[in-house]
Amino acid sequence: MPDATLDRARVAGAGVDATRLPGLLRATWLVAHKDLAIEFRTRTAFFSALVFALLGLSIFYFAWDPTAVAAIDLAPGVLWVIFTFSGLLGLQRSFGVEQADRAMDALLAAPVEREAIYLGKAAANFLFVAGVQVIAIPAVALFYNVPLGNIWLALAGIAVLAALGIVAVGTLFSAMAVNTRLAELLLPMLSLPFFVPIVMAAAQTTSRLLAGRPEAEAWPWLRILLGFDLVFVLACTIAFPYTLDE
């Protein structure tokens, strides 16, 4: 990634008119905007995460016998596993970009709350993951011939909840992993156990929706997803400042 692009992106991010928003939100928006501007101008991570997701979807298709397992039974699992892994690609980058030219130090020197750095990064990651999802979910419907027509709204809701949980934990671990010796290896190792309840809940809810089961069967799973989001968005926001140099 050329440094000039990064610099321009940073400047552009700082120049946005966000003066009307109150302190924390405003700083959050500035950080998110900066990251999104970098991503929008380079598009490297988004493109690779997207291709990864589509590639994963196509490879999975050949890993099972379509005459033995119906696509509708397999699709939810494939969708959420791929979702998780492609999300990791974006998260990896989140704090990785701040390593060039020690941009993280500049970010920390900025007169904003440290929670705002976390929330801004998380917001940018959320949009990144959601952006991949917007293309990957219809691709599942297309490749696996799954009718999503009547459940797409519910599915979008699940995707939002799942993305929120993944991003909350993943952003924090991304900040930690870049400062370790193992970097790229550590993020999936730390994050994946945390994604277990998310993947389970999202896949179970999706398969129930697809099978046309009563909504009541999906509720316990949704509650887990909601609870996870609530607890970990809060806990990770509180924990983030502790991971920074003092």
Binding site: T180, L182, P197, C236
Partner: protein, 247 residues
């Protein structure tokens, strides 16, 4: 060796370190080992054999105490992690480190004794039952914790990061617990730790408690040994740094 005062100071300090040799195998380990042997003598010869499962049930006296101690260990990691972030007390970080490693050891014991029992009783080594899955993920969380510790050189950074993970990991357990329980479970239901009175016959219950106490001793002895090891390691690092500085 080095020349000059720094080198001589170091030599004195090394000699000081040598004057008080600290064996990691001490009386605590010995007492714990004897307690475990005593517990197993009791399990094998002085506890009735279970009517339907036969001898296979004897592994229960190893399996459950190990599981309970794993929870104890991870609970200690959670509490000491909070204490560390709050007070920045180095000792809390050392206890967390030691406890996580010992907890991982106990979890490994649970994950190995379980299948050994499961094969004759359930007819399968492994099943994706709720509690098995939960234990497996506990293992993953704290394996990640230990890998994270190994990946950071700087002590205070390592302490802060691992404290954050130690707290988040503990927060994760209820969620994994709830989600794996929404799947159907095959594991025997609790017969000791449940709201009503334990349904284990008194002889078996007493043996179990004896065994649990023995394992608590093992936990304490191992954490203590591991704690001292980390103190020694830090001292070695400090000495090496000062030797390099004096060169």
């Amino acid at each position: 060796m080095t020349t000059g005062t720094t080198g001589r100071d170091d030599a004195v300090r090394i000699a000081g370190a040598r004057r008080a040799p600290r064996a990691l195998m001490d009386s605590w380990i010995l007492v714990a080992a004897l307690a475990v042997i005593a517990a197993y003598v009791r399990v094998i010869w002085f506890t009735p054999t279970e009517a339907t499962q036969g001898l296979a049930q004897k592994i229960y006296y190893l399996h459950l105490p190990a599981a309970l101690n794993a929870y104890l260990a991870f609970g200690v990691v959670f509490v000491t992690s909070i204490v560390y972030l709050w007070l920045r007390e180095e000792r809390a970080d050392r206890v967390a480190e030691a406890s996580a490693e010992v907890g991982l050891l106990f979890t490994t014991v649970v994950l190995t004794t379980g299948p050994i029992w499961g094969k004759p009783i359930w007819g399968t080594w492994w099943t994706w039952d709720a509690r098995l899955t939960l234990t497996l993920f506990l293992w993953f969380i704290y394996a990640g914790y230990i890998v994270l510790r190994g990946a950071i050189v700087e002590p205070s950074l390592r302490a802060r990061y691992s404290a954050v993970l130690g707290i988040l990991g503990a927060l994760l357990i209820p969620f994994i617990h709830m989600s794996v329980y929404l799947f159907r479970t095959l594991h025997p239901m609790p017969i000791v730790l449940k709201p009503s009175a334990p349904s284990l016959p008194p002889e078996m219950l007493h043996t179990l408690m004896f065994s649990f106490a023995a394992f608590v001793l093992v936990y304490l002895a191992l954490v203590r040994a591991r704690y001292r090891l980390s103190v020694e390691r830090a001292r070695v690092e400090e000495l090496e740094a000062s030797l390099e500085g004096g060169r």
